[in-house]
């Protein structure tokens, strides 16, 4: 599968795959703040070509994320830029981040946690408009 345009921010790589899904992959050791989250959501929209798309967020390399950044990702404001979010994680540390996000931040968009990229992509395909 060929990636189209790749966008690099301070904390993530973002691109639109040919399958219509936006990938947002944390850089190794990423520590996300509110400013990073705002930059990343704006870049997701840029990569989306103005069309709401499902988003796969790969946090397997994420080290930490602030409360303000979690709240921004879960907000109604960011919901206008996507159709659903699959969170891809692996380690016990990233599982804690994912579970905290669901329990405390209550994301606005349809949201599900995965440890398998293939399963995440299969689920997201149901949200391509």
């Amino acid at each position: 599968m060929t990636a189209i345009d790749k966008f690099l921010t301070s904390t993530v790589n973002i691109w639109l795959e040919e399958n219509g899904i936006i990938y947002m992959v944390d850089l190794p050791g990423a520590e996300e703040t509110l400013n990073n989250a705002i930059e990343n959501v704006a870049t997701v929209w840029k990569a989306s070509d103005g069309i709401k798309r499902p988003v796969l967020i790969d946090i397997r390399q994420l080290k930490s994320i602030t409360k303000e950044a979690r709240e921004y990702y879960a907000s109604k404001e960011t919901a206008q830029y996507g159709t659903a979010v699959a969170l891809l994680l692996s380690s016990p540390a990233t599982k804690v981040i994912g579970n905290f996000f669901i329990k405390f931040n209550k994301p606005t968009l349809p949201f599900k946690i995965f440890t398998s990229e293939n399963e995440a992509v299969d689920w997201l395909k149901g949200f391509i408009e």
Partner: protein, 64 residues
Amino acid sequence: MIKRSDKDTRIENIFDMIYKIAEGDLDVSLPVSDDRDEYDAIIIALNMMTEELKAKMEKRHDNN
């Protein structure tokens, strides 16, 4: 003499943080290592918990 391992130190740091939270200190936090192991999972949970508790207490204080 028994040499203290990194594991012992990390557990000790985690308990120190728990004691401080119990005393009402919600400004405490611990650094996360690059290992992303079970200890980091506990540290991340504690860091996030203190953030959430602090925000809730500040909100409650503002409402009173």
